[in-house]
């Protein structure tokens, strides 16, 4: 939490200091009221009406000014809490934007989302609510303790005993309960996980007739959760009744003992009344404080999670920003090996490739052969472990990242579009694109027909996750987005999988006639998709086991043959 403090702005610090001053003022006002009440009671016994009027007036003034001060404090704390959350959200978001795939996979996307949403929300809640209590409660307690110590030692001693009982109880409760919170969190997560599992596996569960097993698993966790909840709540239930009991009993004992003191004339009725009010304040302050201490650890967990993100060093940064002499789209891999930062084994080993401008290269291989990893190295989503990759004859690590990526049109395996209109999504590819460019890109991507059938045309709004278009349509739109960029290099990461054979084939033939000068990289599973490429690279276990044209590979690459024969019958391959 403390590490996050540096994100407070100067204005927020000033606001914070002003707020602290006001809180101090507030406690003094609150503390002054019981004193006036005591004065009134004593004035009653002495029959001084003017004193009563005066004290009454002061009490009214105090009550009203107290509310004003509280409202100002509230105004400040709302601003500071929300403002701080805004800053944190901005900083975290900005940081994540800089992350490379490496950092992203280190945290996982889901976790980054929670950190940027729920965790920041938690910190904000704690700042607006607990911060004030955290300051008010001790100030209140100290002022009240000072007040009672001034008046009577014996009564003070009684109050201290009550306070001791309360603190002991709070500590006992917290030590019992806090470890259990973790269990509750775990059981709740399990409940959630089991229910989610049951829902996503509906068909399998029914097909296997295992409904009872699933319900039993759920029931076991449900029982544990319920049991732990009961224990925790019933321990926490002790706090408020005990607090009430102590408060009331303390007032009773003070009056009772006070009556003996009054008989000895060491004290008057007014003081006794005032005293019991102060002691109530002391007990209340400690209770509030204990609540803050229950809340803060949770916020601390959140604060740490945010801090982890903010402290992360981004590994992939822009290079010196040199510009290559030519820009024709050549790509060279020289002795490239790659291992994921936390993995032991090389995913790619000794890859050497020389891709000439305008060529179409395809990569094929089994799952885990490293073909997607290989192409992810070109736009520097990851950096090579050894060796180097040259684009237009220059090491990719020397480029300004923005410039490197401007050269590349990348179509991801999982189709990702943004919510918003088709037009906005296409403009992401090229902000200067004209209406004509858009239709042309859509035509090549075989998406023109379906966009034309939409009433809104280019202004058709895609939902989040683009659930309102089909998988194939999504894929074609993302291809159009890459095409409109008119890049030197096009990278298709298994981007034809959601298309039926016919569309796949039409798209590829249109592409090949249009993109003479564009270097094209295709990762594919279907032989049909890649068989016409200039070069096909066969990967197995991170190594190149074959390189050549379709026909060459059919003759001399056993891995390629195996893949091909499983998809197409031998006669057809021979005839092709």
């Amino acid at each position: 939490m403390l590490k996050l403090l540096k994100y407070f702005s100067l204005a927020q610090w000033i606001g914070l200091i002003v707020m602290l001053g006001l809180i101090f003022l507030q406690t003094q006002i609150t503390m002054a009221i019981p004193g006036q009440l005591g004065t009134i009671i004593n004035a009653v016994t002495d029959g001084q009406r003017d004193v009563i009027w005066k004290s009454g007036g002061i009490m009214f003034a105090l009550a009203i000014s107290e509310v004003f001060v509280i409202i100002i404090i509230n105004y400040l704390s709302s601003h500071i809490g929300s403002g701080f959350a805004k800053t944190l959200r901005h900083k975290t978001f900005e940081k994540v934007q800089q992350f490379s795939m490496d950092e992203i996979s280190g945290f996982s996307t889901a976790s980054l989302i929670t950190r940027c949403t729920n965790d920041i929300q938690n910190v904000q809640m704690t700042i607006t609510m607990s911060l004030r209590m955290l300051v008010t409660a001790p100030l209140m307690a100290i002022s009240a303790i000072l007040k009672i110590l001034q008046s009577d030692k014996q009564l003070s001693l009684i109050t201290m005993i009550a306070l001791f009982v309360l603190v002991a109880l709070i500590i006992t409760c917290v030590t019992i309960v806090v470890p259990k919170f973790k269990h509750i969190q775990k059981y709740t997560d399990d409940i959630n996980m089991l229910a989610r599992e049951n829902l996503t596996g509906l068909r399998v569960i029914r097909a296997f007739n295992t409904e009872d097993e699933e319900e039993e698993k759920f029931d076991n966790t449900n029982k544990s959760l319920t049991h732990t909840q009961k224990v925790v709540e019933n321990v926490m239930n002790l706090l408020f009744p005990t607090m009430n009991f102590l408060n009331k009993t303390l007032s009773l004992v003070i009056v009772w003992v006070g009556s003996y003191l009054i008989a000895r004339n060491t004290i008057d009725i007014g003081t006794v009344t005032t005293f019991s009010q102060y002691s109530v304040h002391i007990l209340m302050s400690f209770l509030t404080l204990s609540m803050v201490f229950v809340m803060i650890p949770r916020a601390l967990v959140s604060a740490n999670r945010i801090n982890e993100v903010l402290q992360t060093q981004v590994k992939i940064r822009s290079g010196t920003g040199k510009t290559p002499a030519v820009a024709d789209g050549s790509i060279t891999f020289s002795d490239v090996s790659f291992a994921y930062p936390h993995g032991d084994e090389n995913v790619l080993e000794n890859i050497n490739l020389d891709i000439k401008p305008g060529e179409t290269w395809a990569f094929i291989g089994s799952t885990g052969s490293g073909k997607s990893t290989l192409i992810n190295l070109i736009p520097r989503f990851f950096d090579v472990s050894t060796g180097k990759i040259l684009v237009d004859g220059m090491d990719v690590r020397d480029y300004n990242l923005k410039e490197l990526r401007n050269k590349i049109g990348y179509i991801s395996q999982k189709t990702l579009l943004f919510s918003g209109s088709i037009r906005e999504n296409l403009l992401d590819g090229n902000p200067d694109a004209t209406e004509e460019d858009m239709w042309e890109a859509l035509r090549i991507a075989q998406a023109k027909d379906f966009v034309e059938t939409l009433d809104e045309g280019l202004d058709y709004n895609l939902s989040q996750g683009s659930t309102n278009v089909s998988g194939g349509q999504k894929q074609r739109l993302s291809i159009a987005r890459a095409l409109i960029k008119k890049p030197e290099i096009l990278i298709f990461d298994d981007s034809f999988s959601a298309l039926d054979f016919k569309t796949d084939q039409e798209l590829r033939s249109t592409l090949s006639t249009l993109l003479d000068s564009t270097t094209t990289i295709i990762v594919g599973q279907r032989i049909g998709t890649i068989m016409n490429s200039d070069r096909i690279v066969v990967l197995d276990d991170g190594k190149i086991v074959g390189m050549g044209t379709h026909k060459e590979l059919l003759k001399n690459c056993p891995v390629y043959q195996q893949i091909a024969y499983s998809q197409i019958s031998k006669e057809e391959l021979d005839n092709a």
Partner: protein, 593 residues
């Protein structure tokens, strides 16, 4: 613990119905709840009586000093001891009622969760066509939690507040009538504050929730699309997009917090004003000897006890609203109509041969819009049926009908001459082993996943896995058969697919359904699987949804689907020569050669 101040209030559509539903659950605990309520009422009354007794002690102190006589310590001690015993009783009663209500509400939430989890498995699959999983999950967690958190506190607070207000009013009336009426003046004042502040704070709260939703949505989308943001240099666009929403959130958030934060101080002010007025009036009455100081003390304490529950009303009513809305969402789910009961169905098949007959089947997900109009086909025992068609043509529909995930509107489906509608669903499903498109595995060991719902020895399991050529793969994983599968365990999609195939093999059902089973496995592995599959499918009727032509070609019967309809059926050669949709589909892949 109190849960926030004026918080998110969602309203139930039909408050009364939701309340009645909740009562049904409370009914099982009616004696416990009644006991808790009695304890609260009696405890609160004793608490107020203790206040009265403390006042009597002060009265004695004052009269003694006024009359200049010695204090009657016997009376003081007696009052103090009685008051103390009242306070102790109140303490015990109070805590007991908390404990009772906590146990009751926890038992109810346990039952709700259990019922939801059972309901999930009893609803027809068609229910899930229009319901998002997130929604159902939020019922099982959030809504049940809201019920748990609010139920006991609502009961406790409501009865405590009512008793407190009534006893305070009674005490105040017995002491002084004019002062009591002054106290009553703060009721309209408090109500006015509630109306004004709540209106503002709820308005901004709603705006804040919307803004928060937008910001969280943006974060989710942009983080998920990280690759694209990087590849297309979209950082400046996404950053400014985000900042705009972030600013909107800030503006709404501070206002919402500010307005909800001034509610309590304003209430406090009204209470304090009444308190001070009564203190002043009491003081003058005391000087005039109309009232004793102790009485005034009891009175102004009662003013506090009267005001405090009043200021709680808004938070209690918010709790009640939330409780009812949450309960309604739970009840909506629990009340959804289940699959038809089938206790009367007894048909079974001994020694399954595996002939399947579709007889004039008509089906539509929406009964008014049939997508399978009149489908008939006969599959003889041991045949391999391939279901082909473009994406979205409804290939899984046929499978769903066979498995009775959905019921047909008319016609019949028969296995070995027995209608699947004369059998229990579980009997039908036992006939088929299946591998689905999504590789669903649960958290647990690989062994548990493979022997899912089946008793089988480790040796047999290994034997089957060897046959499936997956034994080696499993043994190379950390922990082998005992490897714990979790959401983030590092096994690939292809490996998952292999596991689900092995799972289907373990089932050893008389017939097989493979739903695009091999689409996620790379082509080499696929071939290995194919061999094992072929061994497995020998003598078994099997239905395969496939993209791979080699699979399709070997099929005994091909069903060609388009837009949900079965447009053609026959063998590969027959369909090719017919020159219809299938031959189009087939040729399109190699057209350019």
């Amino acid at each position: 613990m109190p849960r926030g101040r004026v918080n998110q209030v969602s309203k139930a559509r039909d408050f009364k119905k939701s309340f009645r539903d909740l009562l049904k659950y409370l009914k099982a605990y009616k004696w416990a709840v009644l006991l808790a309520v009695c304890l609260i009422v009696v405890g609160t009354v004793l608490f107020m009586l203790a206040t009265r007794l403390v006042g009597d002690i002060t009265n004695e102190l004052q009269t003694a000093s006024d009359d200049e006589r010695a204090i009657n310590f016997a009376l003081v001690t007696k009052n103090a001891l009685i008051a103390l015993s009242f306070l102790i009783t109140n303490y015990v009663f109070n805590y007991s009622s908390f404990v009772i209500m906590t146990i009751v509400s926890q038992n109810i939430t346990y039952r709700l969760r259990k019922e939801i989890s059972e309901k999930i498995n009893r609803l027809p699959l068609s229910f899930y066509d229009h319901e998002s999983f997130g929604d159902i999950l939020s019922r099982i967690t959030n809504d049940v939690d809201i019920t748990a958190n609010n139920l006991s506190s609502v009961v406790n607070q409501t009865f405590q507040s009512i008793t407190m207000i009534i006893s305070a009013v009674v005490l105040m009336f017995t002491i002084n009538v004019p002062m009591t009426f002054v106290t009553f003046c703060c009721i309209p004042l408090s109500l006015l504050i509630v109306l004004l502040v709540v209106r503002f704070s709820q308005k901004y709260f709603r705006i804040q929730q919307n803004a928060l939703g937008t910001v969280n949505g943006k974060i989710e989308e942009i983080f998920t699309n990280h690759t694209i943001v990087k590849a297309y240099n979209l950082e400046p666009r996404t950053m400014s997009d985000f900042d705009t929403s972030n600013n909107e959130l800030y503006n709404a958030a501070w206002k919402s917090q500010f307005y909800s934060g001034i509610m309590n101080p304003l209430f406090g002010l009204v209470g304090n004003l009444a308190y001070i007025t009564c203190a002043l009036m009491g003081a003058f009455y005391a000087i005039d000897k109309v009232l004793l100081i102790g009485d005034v003390q009891v009175f102004i304490t009662s003013v506090r006890n009267f005001n405090q529950p009043l200021s709680n009303i808004s938070s209690i009513s918010a709790s009640v609203q939330n409780l009812m809305a949450a309960n309604e969402r739970i009840m909506d789910f629990l009340g959804a109509s289940e699959e038809d009961p089938e206790d009367d169905k007894t048909a079974t098949i001994e020694n399954v041969k595996g002939s399947v007959e579709f007889d004039h089947v008509v089906f539509g997900y929406d009964p008014n819009v049939p997508i399978i109009h009149d489908f008939s086909a006969k599959v003889t025992p041991g045949q391999k049926v391939a279901i082909v068609g473009p994406t979205g043509a409804g290939k899984t529909t046929l499978i769903s009908l066979l498995m009775r995930f959905y019921d047909i509107q008319s016609g019949d489906i028969r296995v070995d001459g027995v209608s699947i509608y004369d059998m229990k669903r579980s009997t039908v499903r036992d006939l088929f082993g299946m591998v689905l498109q999504d590789t669903w595995l649960f958290r647990g060991t690989i062994r548990e996943n493979l022997t899912y719902g089946k008793e089988i020895s480790d040796k047999e399991l290994e034997h089957i896995c060897k046959e499936a050529k997956i034994d080696h793969m499993i043994k190379s994983l950390p922990g082998g058969y005992n490897m714990e599968l979790t959401e983030d365990s590092s096994i690939s999609q292809g490996q998952k697919q292999l596991l689900t195939i092995a799972r289907a093999m373990v089932q050893n059902s008389p017939m097989l359904i493979l739903d695009e089973a091999t689409s996620n496995v790379d082509t080499r592995t696929e071939e290995l699987i194919q061999e094992a599959m072929d061994r497995l499918t020998v003598g078994r009727t099997s239905f395969v949804i496939a993209h791979r032509l080699s699979t399709i070609k070997n099929a005994d019967l091909i069903l060609v689907l388009r837009d949900g309809n079965i447009v053609e059926q026959g063998t590969h050669a027959g369909l090719l020569s017919a020159g219809g949709f299938y031959s189009d589909l087939y040729r399109s892949q190699f057209e350019n050669k």
